[in-house]
C-alpha cells in the first residue's frame, strides 16, 4: 500500500490530533484540527472535492462515502475519529479508468441531471446493494431515502441500483 504523509495546518489552538487513515487505498498520517469533519478533511485538506456538501447536517446524503465498506455521511464524522479507517470516496471507485458498475449504471439510466448529489447517490447505492437492501424497487426506495435529489431523478436512480443488484446476483 502506498503511503503519503500530509499535514493539515493545525490552527495554533493546540486542538489538533494525529490521525492515520486510508483514503482510496492511500494510507495517510496527518495532523488534523479537532473541529474538522471527515467531509471537510476530504474537500478542503485533501483536495478530494468529488464528495459534496449539501447540508452539513446529515439530512441530505450528498457527502456519502464508504467507511470500512459502510456508507456514512462524512459531514457527521469528525476526522480525528477516523484512526485506522479505510475511506472510499467517489474518486476511488473507477479502476484505472474503468468505471465502477454503479457509475456506469447511473450513466446508462440517466440517473442524474445537475450531478451534484450524484457522487453521494452512487456511494450510497453501492452501500445499499452490499447491505442486501436492493432486492426490489420498493426496498431500494426505502433504503435510498437518505439521499436527496432535488432534480427528482429517483425513478432512474432506483433503476440504476436495480441494474447493478441484478447483475451482481447473476454473477
Amino acid at each position: 500500500m502506498p503511503s503519503q504523509s500530509a499535514s493539515v495546518p493545525a490552527t495554533a489552538t493546540g486542538l489538533a490530533s494525529q490521525v492515520s487513515l486510508s483514503v482510496n487505498r492511500v494510507r495517510r498520517r496527518m495532523e488534523v484540527d479537532n473541529r474538522t469533519s471527515l467531509l471537510d478533511l476530504l474537500r478542503e485538506h485533501l483536495g478530494l472535492v468529488g464528495t459534496k456538501k449539501g447540508c452539513d447536517a446529515g439530512a441530505c446524503g450528498a457527502c456519502t462515502v464508504l467507511v470500512n465498506g459502510v456508507r456514512m455521511n462524512a459531514c457527521l464524522i469528525l476526522a480525528v475519529r477516523m484512526e485506522g479507517a479505510e475511506v472510499t470516496t467517489i474518486e476511488g471507485l473507477a479502476d484505472e479508468g474503468e468505471l465502477h458498475p454503479m457509475q456506469q449504471a447511473f450513466i446508462d439510466r440517466d440517473a442524474f441531471q445537475c450531478g451534484y448529489c450524484t457522487p453521494g447517490q452512487i456511494m450510497s447505492g453501492i452501500g445499499c446493494v452490499s447491505e442486501g437492501h436492493a432486492g426490489s424497487a420498493e426496498t431500494i426506495r426505502e433504503w435510498m431515502s437518505g439521499n436527496i435529489c432535488r432534480c427528482g431523478c429517483y425513478v432512474r436512480i432506483t433503476e440504476a441500483i436495480q441494474q447493478v443488484a441484478s447483475a451482481s446476483e447473476g454473477a
Binding site: A59, C60, L93, L99
Partner: protein, 736 residues
C-alpha cells in the same frame, strides 16, 4: 444551401458530461481551489442577524479576532463604501433598492448578513463567526402575509366581471393559500472571488454569468464590465435561485479585496433561506361565474403575495387566469405585500405554478358542483385564440394531451363519486389538471469554430443547471455541421463567451440553440463555398445547394462519389479553422400566442385513519414542440413532477412571526420529496414542432413540467376523500 439530416437531434443521447459527473470530476463552484490556479484561498463565513428588524448598536469582534487563523472580520463598522450604481430592473433585480451589504446599521429581515469572518481555514472562520457579538436595537418585524397592508394592485380587466358574476347561474367563491417554497438546490450557493489589481474574477453559482452576475458586480463595485469575469461551469441545481446575483456574491468579492487573498464563501443550508430568494406565499381569492353547462362566464381574481420591504417582486401569476380558458369577463387585482423578509424570486414554473394551481383546483370544484367530467369541463372552455392579445395560438394541443392522457391513465374507469374507491385502508382518488407556461425566447449569440482536425468548438455564455444544455447544444451543432457528436465540444458558463440570456424561463434551447444552429449553418456554408470554389476539391463546381455533410464528409447528393472532408478541405486551404458567430434575435411584434401545455394525471392513496397522502402513480402528457433529446426530456419532465409533489404535499417555509425567524431552515424540517415518495411517474410528449416559436421548433420544457402537478394531486385528494383542501401543502393535519 441544402438542409441537414436529423441525426443526433431527436435521439436519446446520454449526457456528454456524464462521465465527469459520475466520477465527481465536474467542477462545481465550491470545488475550485489549487487545482484551478487558486492559491492561499481564505474561507469566509457570514454572520447573519438574529433579529427580524432594527438597527445594529454594536459589533464586538474581540473574541473572534483572537481565534488563531482569523484574518479579518468585516461589517458595516469597517467596510468601505461601495458605489452600488443603479441596476434596478436589470440583471433580474426587481424594482426597488437592493440590499447593500455592510453599508449601514439597518436590519431589514431575520438572517440578513451583518458581518463576515475571513480566516485561513474553514474551521477557524466557522468558529470565529459564532464569537462575533452583535447587539441590536430590535423592532417588531411584520412577516405575516395575512396581517399586513398591501401595495397598490396591478389590475387587469376585460368585459364586466362584476356584472357577469352577479347574473351567473352558478357561482363559486374560493380562497386558496399557498405556502412559501424554497428552491433548495442540492448545491448551496457559493462564490470564490479573486482580485488581480482592479480586475475581479468570480467563480459563482449563477444562472446568468453575463448580464446577471457580471453586470451586477460591475455596478456594485463601480467597475467597467470587462474588468469583471464570471465563471460557472457546473450548477448543482438552482431552479431559479441563482438567477439574481445575491448579496453574498458581493460579500465574497469584498472580502477578497479587503484581505488581498482569494476568498471562498459557501452559504450554509440555513443561510440559503434568507441569503437567496423563494417562491412567495399567496393568498388567492377566486370567484367564478358559470352557466349550467360549465361554460365559464366570468372570473374575479384577488391575489396577495409576499415581497420584501425594499424590493417589489412580481411574477406571471395572473397569466393563467387571463388566457388558459375562454372567459368573456375577467377582473384581476394583484397586490404585493411588503414584509420584513428577504426578496422573493422566480422558482420553477414561476407565477404559473401558483396561478394554475388555483385555477385548476377551482375548475375541478366547478366540475364537481355541476356534475360534469373535469376533462369535459375543460373542453367546453377551450379558447379559440389568446383572449388578451387576440392572436392565434402557434400550437395549442391541450385537449389532445387530455385525450392521450385519459386513454393511457385509464380515466374512463374512474368512478366520479368522491370517496368511492378503496384499497384496504387507503382511499384512492384520481385527479387531473392542465399545465401551461409561456414560451420564452431572447437574443443570444454563440461562436462556432470548425478546426482543421475536423472537430468543432461551440461556445456561449449560457449555463446548465441540470436539464442538459451541454448535450442538447452539442446535438444541435453536430447535426447542423454534419459531424459526429464526439467531434463537438460545447463550452458555457463564462462571461468572456458570446452573450446568452439567463438560463431560465424554458428559453435556453429556443434562444441559445437557435444561435448555435445559425453559427453552425454559417460555418458549414463557408466550408461548402470553399469546396465548390476549390479546384483541388472533388466538389469543385458543384451546386452548393446540392452538398450535404455527414460525419465531417461533404458530398454531392446527386453524385455521392464526389466527396471532400472538413479536415482535408481546411488543411488544403491553409486554414487553421473556419468560424462564425451565430446569432438569434426573436422577431419583433408577435404574430402568435405561444405556450407549452400539458395534462397531468395523478392517482393518490389517502390513509383513511391517518390522513397520510401517497402518490400511487402519475402521468403527464406534454405539448412542448420538438424534443431535442427524448432521454433528457423525460428526466426533466419526471423531475418536474417530483418538484410538484413537493409543492403539493411537503414544502412550506414556516416563519415565527414573533421575531421573523424561519423555523425550518434545514433539510430535516423543510420537507422535500425523497425516493420513498416517488413511485410510478411517466411522461409522454406529443410528437410535433412549433415553427412559429423559433427556428428549432421547441416551446420550452423546464418550467411547464412543474406546473399543474399540485392541482392534479389536490384534485385526486378530493376525489379520494371528498375533502377539499385549499391550502398548499396538503398535510396530514388538513385531512384528519
Amino acid at each position: 444551401m441544402s438542409s441537414q439530416p436529423e441525426v443526433a437531434v431527436g435521439s436519446a443521447k446520454q449526457r456528454v458530461e456524464a462521465r465527469l459527473k459520475v466520477t465527481g470530476r465536474a467542477p462545481f463552484t465550491a470545488d475550485h481551489g489549487t487545482a484551478h490556479g487558486l492559491e492561499e484561498v481564505a474561507h469566509a463565513v457570514i454572520v447573519d442577524s438574529s433579529v427580524g428588524r432594527g438597527r445594529i448598536t454594536s459589533i464586538d469582534t474581540t473574541e473572534a479576532d483572537a481565534v488563531p487563523g482569523v484574518v479579518r472580520v468585516i461589517s458595516h463598522a469597517n467596510a468601505p463604501t461601495l458605489p452600488y450604481d443603479d441596476n434596478a430592473g436589470r440583471s433580474l433585480n426587481p424594482p426597488g433598492e437592493r440590499l447593500r451589504v455592510f453599508q449601514d446599521d439597518r436590519v431589514l429581515f431575520f438572517g440578513q448578513p451583518v458581518a463576515v469572518v475571513v480566516a485561513d481555514t474553514l474551521e477557524a472562520a466557522q468558529h470565529a463567526a459564532r464569537l462575533v457579538e452583535v447587539r441590536y436595537d430590535a423592532e417588531d418585524p411584520v412577516t405575516d402575509l395575512g396581517a399586513a397592508p398591501a401595495d397598490e394592485p396591478v389590475r387587469y380587466s376585460r368585459g364586466d366581471a362584476e356584472e357577469a358574476l352577479g347574473s351567473a347561474p352558478v357561482r363559486l367563491d374560493l380562497t386558496y393559500r399557498l405556502a412559501r417554497n424554497h428552491h433548495n438546490p442540492m448545491e448551496p450557493h457559493a462564490t470564490v472571488a479573486r482580485w488581480e489589481g482592479d480586475r475581479l474574477t468570480v467563480w459563482d453559482k449563477t444562472q446568468w454569468v453575463g448580464d446577471g452576475t457580471q453586470r451586477e458586480l460591475s455596478t456594485v463595485f463601480g467597475l467597467p464590465r470587462e474588468q469583471v469575469r464570471v465563471i460557472s461551469p457546473y450548477l448543482g441545481g438552482a431552479f431559479g435561485s441563482a438567477l439574481r446575483c445575491w448579496p453574498h456574491v458581493t460579500i465574497a468579492a469584498l472580502a477578497a479585496r479587503e484581505t488581498g487573498r482569494p476568498v471562498k464563501l459557501v452559504l450554509t443550508r440555513r443561510q440559503l433561506y434568507t441569503g437567496t430568494g423563494f417562491r412567495p406565499a399567496y393568498e388567492y381569492r377566486l370567484r367564478i361565474g358559470a352557466d349550467r353547462h360549465g361554460r365559464v362566464l366570468a372570473t374575479d381574481h384577488d391575489i396577495r403575495s409576499e415581497t420584501s420591504s425594499y424590493e417589489t417582486f412580481t411574477e406571471a401569476v395572473t397569466a393563467p387566469g387571463q388566457t388558459l380558458y375562454r372567459t368573456p369577463h375577467v377582473r384581476q387585482a394583484y397586490r404585493t405585500v411588503p414584509l420584513d423578509v428577504n426578496t422573493p424570486t422566480w422558482m420553477r414554473g414561476p407565477g404559473f405554478a401558483s396561478g394554475v394551481h388555483v385555477l385548476e383546483t377551482a375548475l375541478d370544484e366547478l366540475a364537481h358542483e355541476l356534475g360534469i367530467d373535469p376533462i369535459e369541463l375543460r373542453r367546453r372552455n377551450e379558447p379559440e385564440q389568446d383572449e388578451v392579445s387576440g392572436l392565434p395560438f402557434s400550437t395549442r394541443r391541450l385537449l389532445e394531451c387530455y385525450a392521450v392522457g385519459a386513454r393511457e391513465f385509464g380515466w374512463a374507469e374512474r368512478n366520479p363519486t368522491p370517496g368511492s374507491t378503496r384499497d384496504g385502508n387507503w382511499l384512492v382518488g384520481i385527479g387531473t389538471a392542465s399545465a401551461v407556461c409561456e414560451t420564452g425566447r431572447s437574443a443570444a449569440r454563440a461562436s462556432v469554430q470548425l478546426r482543421v482536425d475536423g472537430t468543432a468548438l461551440v461556445q456561449s455564455a449560457t449555463s446548465d443547471m441540470g436539464p442538459g444544455t451541454y448535450t442538447s447544444m452539442t446535438q444541435i451543432a453536430a447535426d447542423e455541421l454534419g459531424v459526429d457528436l464526439d467531434d463537438v465540444v460545447f463550452r458555457l458558463g463564462d462571461s468572456d463567451l458570446p452573450p446568452a440570456p439567463s438560463h431560465s424561463g424554458s428559453k435556453t434551447t429556443a434562444s441559445v440553440g437557435s444561435a448555435v444552429l445559425d453559427g453552425a449553418r454559417q460555418v458549414r456554408q463557408k466550408a461548402v463555398e470553399l469546396a465548390v470554389a476549390d479546384t483541388r476539391s472533388p466538389l469543385y463546381g458543384a451546386d452548393p445547394a446540392d452538398v450535404v455533410v455527414a460525419h465531417g464528409v461533404l458530398r454531392s447528393r446527386n453524385d455521392p462519389a464526389r466527396r471532400d472532408s472538413y479536415r482535408a478541405l481546411i488543411g488544403r486551404n491553409g486554414r487553421s479553422r473556419l468560424e462564425a458567430i451565430g446569432a438569434y434575435v426573436p422577431p419583433t411584434g408577435q404574430s402568435h400566442s405561444m405556450s407549452a401545455y400539458g395534462a397531468v394525471f395523478a392517482e393518490v392513496g389517502v390513509d383513511s385513519a391517518l390522513g397520510l397522502v401517497r402518490i400511487r402513480r402519475m402521468l403527464a402528457v406534454y405539448d412542448v414542440g420538438r424534443i431535442i433529446n427524448p432521454l433528457l426530456a423525460d428526466s426533466q419532465a419526471v423531475g418536474g413532477m417530483v418538484g410538484g409533489i413537493g409543492m403539493a404535499l411537503l414544502e412550506r417555509t414556516v416563519t415565527d412571526h414573533r421575531d421573523g425567524r424561519i423555523v425550518n431552515a434545514n433539510l430535516a424540517d423543510y420537507l422535500v420529496p425523497v425516493s420513498a415518495d416517488v413511485h410510478d411517474l411517466r411522461a409522454i410528449f406529443l410528437d410535433g414542432r412549433d415553427d412559429h416559436a423559433d427556428p428549432l421548433g421547441v416551446k420550452g420544457l423546464g418550467e411547464v413540467v412543474q406546473v399543474g402537478v399540485a392541482p392534479a394531486i389536490a384534485n385526486a385528494v378530493f376525489h379520494a376523500t371528498g375533502r377539499r383542501v385549499r391550502e398548499l401543502p396538503i398535510t396530514v393535519e388538513a385531512l384528519l
